[in-house]
């Protein structure tokens, strides 16, 4: 789907504090394209803040994020938006617009004063078809169910055809079938040369779909690597404070949380 092949993103020594409380502490992360990276961690670990910082939407107190060797914050907003797509955790829909119009907003970084052109319309139709929302393209977004909306948000992010897609909990509200569809979509993007970074809560899904897992706890990276080594019982105990059992199934690991560690 993406026009450009993704270039590496490199974050160095990120520190972010909000209202005096440290959210990210010395986070360094090099992200390679052609992979799905899952960021997992307990509530309040700093996942959303990290994703926003990686997307160039938040200025870190110290440290920097580079895209292809150039500082992300130094780029023109439009240029950055074309290269890095971002899907917020709870996207706002302020007006009662149709799905097609809403997905069309994903083309903002490409459109001029005269609205969408032919290429934009093609991208919108392709994104709606990929996310499975073409059937209700003329319905008003604010009248859709939570799961249908979540797919519309994914379509909106795809419509911009960014080389990088950073999605904050994109599976929230999706039933198991549609969650798998969305993950397959992300995998497909990565195989075509994009870079995909998602925050996830479902550890089993993360283990099966991600090429790389970054475990965040209290603003620090506590584990980073392939799912097998990162989603291990001792890591989960340290990060989440839970005892978990990991069963190697035929199609990947199943992670079941048993009880609070104590």
């Amino acid at each position: 789907m993406s026009d450009a092949q993704a270039r590496p993103i490199e974050a160095r020594n990120l520190e972010v504090a909000l209202g005096g409380a440290p959210i990210l502490r010395d986070v360094s992360l090099a992200l390679a394209p052609r992979a799905v990276t899952a960021i997992v961690g307990p509530n309040g670990a700093g996942k959303s803040t990290l994703l926003e910082t990686l997307a160039g939407l938040r200025r870190p107190d110290t440290g920097a994020v580079d895209l292809d060797g150039a500082p992300l914050l130094g780029m023109k907003p439009r240029e950055r938006a074309r290269r890095v797509g971002f899907l917020p955790q709870t996207p706002e829909v302020a007006w009662a617009v149709t799905v097609r119009t809403f997905v069309g907003l994903g083309r903002t970084a490409y459109t001029g004063p005269w609205g969408l052109g032919r290429e934009d319309h093609e991208a919108v139709e392709a994104a709606m078809s990929a996310a499975g929302v073409s059937d209700f393209a003329e319905r008003v977004v604010t009248t859709l169910s939570g799961g249908e909306r979540a797919r519309v948000f994914v379509a909106r992010a795809l419509a911009g055809r960014p080389a990088w897609l950073l999605a904050d909990e994109p599976l929230t509200g999706l039933d198991p079938g549609h969650a798998l569809d969305a993950l397959a979509l992300f995998r497909g993007l990565a195989e075509q040369g994009s870079g995909v970074v998602v925050t996830l809560h479902d550890l089993s899904l993360a283990a099966r779909v991600a090429d790389r897992v970054v475990v965040l706890a209290q603003g620090r990276i506590v584990a980073d690597g392939p799912p097998e080594s990162c989603l291990a019982p001792e890591v989960l105990r340290a990060a989440y404070g839970v005892e978990a059992v990991i069963v190697q199934g035929a199609e990947g690991p199943l992670i079941e949380v048993l009880r609070r560690a104590g």
Binding site: P77, R82, P88, A94, W95, V97, F102, L105, P113
Partner: protein, 328 residues
């Protein structure tokens, strides 16, 4: 209701505007019959049409357009269907600026002093509002911010009235405050037109940013929208357009609130698509209202602002009842 095609909206609005403009030139104490249109310059009816009514018609289009477009832009930026320069106190701040020049006797110095003060007042109002609205996305806080701006402006005007040196100044200020298009001349058109047109031109460039703001501030930024720039354009655009309007007609409320609401069924809810139609719609609304007040059979003409408020108040209530259902 399915929105109309874009050309259909513009064609309908332009047609309606043309008919009303024609009616506005003809209507009044003295009706201008068809034969007058072929009259020569020494015919007295010619003087009525072009000396008295044409400036009034032009001003109605300019001021109505400025208020309608400012309302649509403010609603788009704040993602709040109750935003309006009148309701949020921006017009009142412009009036405060203008009244201050009347009070201090500065307005007589040069014709641009009063409009300039009105623009500064309107600009200050928008800046305060956006500062408060930027810090919170809560509807209640935002409306309260508008109430506060309105109150401060009202207090300033009341103070000027209170301290006015003589009853004639009080009369002048009160008369001016009640917005009207009566007895305006080409001078007023000349005074208002540059600010209105420049402000509207700035506001019309905001379409893409306002559309993107449908996704909220983070969403819009992620799409490459420079929100600081959008905010600046909005503040300067509204200050120029509303400030110049208030300077020559006084405060005419509710146009910016009502116009986008009436247009959404035809145009759709996308804020960028509402901008130009709201200019045309505001012009139509004020033009129609001004024709109606001219035709009221009272000895004194009803002031346009009084008529607009009488219509706008119940309309505001109806919107609020509709919104309460959504918010509850």
């Amino acid at each position: 209701m399915t929105p109309w095609p874009r050309w259909g909206v513009y064609a309908a609005a332009a047609g309606l505007l043309a008919i009303l403009a024609f009616a506005s030139l003809s209507a009044g104490r003295v009706w201008v019959p068809w034969s007058a249109w072929s009259a020569t310059a020494d015919d007295p009816r010619w003087a009525i049409v072009f000396g008295l009514r044409a400036p009034r018609t032009l001003l109605a289009i300019l001021v109505g357009g400025a208020l309608g477009l400012s309302g649509a832009a403010l609603q788009g930026y704040t993602r709040n269907a109750l935003a309006d320069p009148g309701v949020l106190g921006v017009s009142a701040m412009a009036a405060f600026g203008a009244v201050a020049t009347l009070y201090f006797g500065l307005a007589g110095g040069a014709p641009w002093v009063l409009p300039a003060a009105a623009m500064i007042g309107a600009g200050a109002g928008v800046v305060v509002l956006l500062a408060l609205a930027g810090a919170t996305s809560s509807l209640v806080t935002f409306i309260l911010a508008g109430v506060i701006v309105q109150t401060i402006a009202g207090a300033g005007v009341a103070l000027a009235l209170n301290l006015a040196p003589d009853p004639w100044s009080v009369n002048e200020i009160v008369n001016w405050l009640m917005g009207s298009l009566a007895d305006r001349s080409v001078e007023e058109v000349r005074l208002a037109a540059p600010g209105v047109l420049a402000g509207c031109a700035l506001l019309l460039t905001l379409g893409r940013s306002l559309d993107a703001l449908t996704l909220g501030e983070t969403g819009a930024r992620s799409l490459g929208v420079d929100l600081g720039r959008a905010r600046l354009l909005l503040a300067v655009g509204v200050a120029l357009a509303v400030g110049s309007s208030v300077a020559v007609t006084g405060v005419i409320g509710f146009v910016g609130l009502v116009t986008p609401h009436l247009l959404r069924p035809f145009v759709g809810a996308r804020p960028g698509a509402l901008l130009l139609p709201s200019f045309l719609g505001g012009a139509i609304l004020v033009l129609a209202a001004d024709i109606l007040v001219r035709l009221t059979p009272a000895a004194t003409e009803v002031k346009l602002s009084v008529a607009m408020t009488a219509l706008g108040g119940p309309f505001f209530l109806a919107i609020l009842i509709g919104m309460r259902r959504r918010l509850a």
